[in-house]
Assembly symmetry: D2
Homo-oligomer: 263 residues x 4
């Protein structure tokens, strides 16, 4: 089309070399960068530090799997129907990575980034300052009848065990930045506004941590999906060894009841 | 449904803990295992050694991305059309992970595993022995008019730069096992049967290395998909920053020519 | 699982019969209902009249295909990569059926339904009344800096040829209801508010027509997807007979230029 | 890209017209062709006769839905997780349209077409001749330990109710061609070879009917997918009105039992 070119900073190949991110794949990257490190680099366009890599991989580990989620069950049922297409079963599982079951990570990061972007002046220097910012944000959300993402969990009603661990690791690595601090402050102040105490959930703290790593908040869901891809492969491997898909199907089908439409 | 239960070795949650692979996610895994290590563990059902992890992550790095592949273009076009659904764009990209562009890894691993499984007696102890086994396998494939997977590459016509690097790393880590040795032997002997010299391609050597790690050969494509998920996220991040999807679409649409059907 | 049952009005089977929508599939439906008619029935839970069926199928025909759209190209590239999985190529094409390229149908139906739902009192009885309602709605949208969906088209800048034809057919069949009337009125009045004249696009008029058929506005995108599934099958059939996927890929890859990241 | 052009017989647009299959979409197709008719035309590249359209739509109706299949459950679980993406839920459902649950249609058509293609001389003129051809084909399949696709059904163990109805309609329309005749003959003769009597299943007879319509056997799965798209939309509409996805998930999750891996 008349000289159109397609610019990219990701990769190109020629007969003797594969270049990726400006590096020689074979001599500069293979065996020298970890997979998580490369995933960060691919999205952010810069190589993470070892500290960033550790926090990033901790997030991926935290989000990789939670047993029989709807997405895992969907992937297993798809594998049951089309076992020749591992890519289809994996894709089916990832397609559930939307607003309700995997979206909290991105929603939390975006909410926190929005509060920080709207804040005038320097960031708070102490907990008291963060609490004031958090209190304003939670109050505003409540007045607009919007949920504060990352608060509460259907199973972990008192504390999500991932939250303190990720906060501690981010702190160890010098990466407990403004998004995490604001999220912690929300954890402290929200009972004053909402009238009840909810835990900071693990998916939300992951979103805050990813945002503190400088990753684009509009793509945070993508990291949850990458993490979940590993979990879904685990489910597909287990479905091969010890299948449950047929039992799930039979359970639903045998307990189906026909109800005439009410129109 | 009458007491049906759904067994799993992957994960379960209760109000205070998330268990994954028999471990406590928060205290045993977060910050203590890398993401690649966890992905291996999820599929294999056992924790890899540091040596295995290094070879495994090298494979994932080798397969993560190759620029504007059909799958990357498909993901970008899908993102152009439905930018609100990152999961859809990622899934669309992964759906191209089939027989032609991502299947070589699995095909190679399966071919090599098949030759090894059919071999009676102890495995060869030297290159001469491996060459004899390889020669028989290539000859049999040719007589059956089947391709030997992993030979040849559309761009890297003389040598795929990934092949020697992965072999060297596997050797360093003590993991140059029978699949890799047989694959190398195929690289040495195939010109005698096929009448021309083809390089051992990088996707094929990755398949051999994964098979030597004891991973299930029927799921090797899954690791190529996991690796590619990282590359596709990189493409989606770039599509946000510097889009090419609309230009691809316009290039095709403006150069469309209507041809009446010939029936 | 404690007696959970799964109610449905769609279908059940037993050894001698398949029941669908309360009918016997073999004796009541096969050969007696058309495919479009059945699709309507499945979603709406009621059998459409012949008039409704004609309007509904006209919408599906209008939306089925538009040549080399991004979704068609994505499906063809996926088929190139994984030709063994027709379902994957079709799914990849449908995944582009989101907000930008297939979403107008649903957005228009929802916008119109929202205006009608918010309107107090009886619906207008003449064009003047509809114009007043439309004027208020367009003015409100503009003040809120929201687009009015269904106005304008990148190619058909003066008139979308589908619009008058669908309006005429709906009128013929006695199904030019409030959504279509409001949409037409928007077509008449919007220049007064927006200061320029835009055509009512075909996807928008389809959304209005579907809403007038009483179909759920939150699922209107689903009908665009069903229609597009037929178009995508056409593309996959053509890709088998006269492929363009490899040329698209090569065009992009050969014109790729590496640009260092600017960070 | 050096003058590459992209030929197509499907469609093109210009500012005043949309052309599809060499017709003017608005004036020649909308309101004048049915949706099933258009789908046939898009794939086959020729307009079907009314007789062909009736058989084709009967097949689509027969395949559209069967209640709580694994694909329907997967679509509903995906909708539960990501309700904002109808396209993702639909795609997830279609991805199960592979070898096991939707593949019989294509497998049957391909098997029958293969037998007919290998047959030398004129086709049989009576049932006796068809029985001989069928007997040879079933015997050969059995000797090669291959299944004859289209025989047997997990629920309809004696007769699939769709089979006689579709045969009768094809006969009425003058379209009971060689694929259907061969399939019927297989139904008569297979007990002599297999030692037990299996019903001709509905998906198989649909494949035979589609092949007799001259549709490409490598894409027959595509029609099953198109039909199923309508059924899946019905499930998604029902999931909005009366959801079962959460109950399916809870049923599986509550009955999960942790089993340590046996390695």
């Amino acid at each position: 089309m008349d000289g159109a070119t397609f610019p990219t900073s990701i990769g190109t190949s020629d007969p003797t070399a594969i270049r990726l991110l400006g590096q020689d794949l074979a001599s500069d990257l293979m065996g020298k960068v970890g997979f998580g490190e490369l995933a960060f680099w691919l999205v952010a366009g810069r190589r993470p530090t070892p500290q960033e890599t550790r926090v990033f991989e901790t997030v991926l580990v935290a989000l990789a799997d939670h047993g029989f989620t709807p997405t895992a069950i969907a992937a297993r049922l798809t594998y049951l129907s089309a076992p020749e297409s591992v890519q289809g079963a994996l894709a089916a599982g990832l397609l559930g990575g939307g607003s309700r079951f995997l979206g909290v990570t991105e929603d939390s990061g975006r909410f926190l980034a929005g509060v920080l972007a709207a804040h005038k002046g320097p960031l708070p220097g102490d907990d008291e300052g963060w609490d004031a910012l958090a209190l304003a944000a939670v109050t505003e959300a409540r007045e607009a009848r919007r949920l504060v993402p990352g608060l509460g969990h259907p199973v972990h009603k008192v504390q999500d065990p991932r939250t303190p661990v990720l906060l501690a690791i981010a702190d160890e690595e010098g990466l407990r930045g403004p998004h995490l601090r604001l999220f912690e402050a929300i954890g402290r102040v929200h009972p004053r506004v909402l009238g009840r105490t909810l835990p900071l959930n693990g998916a939300g703290v992951c979103g805050a941590a990813l945002a503190d790593l400088g990753l684009p908040v509009d793509l945070l869901r993508g990291f949850a999906l990458l993490a979940r891809a590993a979990g879904l492969l685990g489910h597909l491997a287990e479905e091969r060894r010890r299948p449950i898909g047929m039992d799930v199907y039979m359970t639903v089908d045998r307990n189906a009841t026909y109800v005439p439409d009410e129109d």
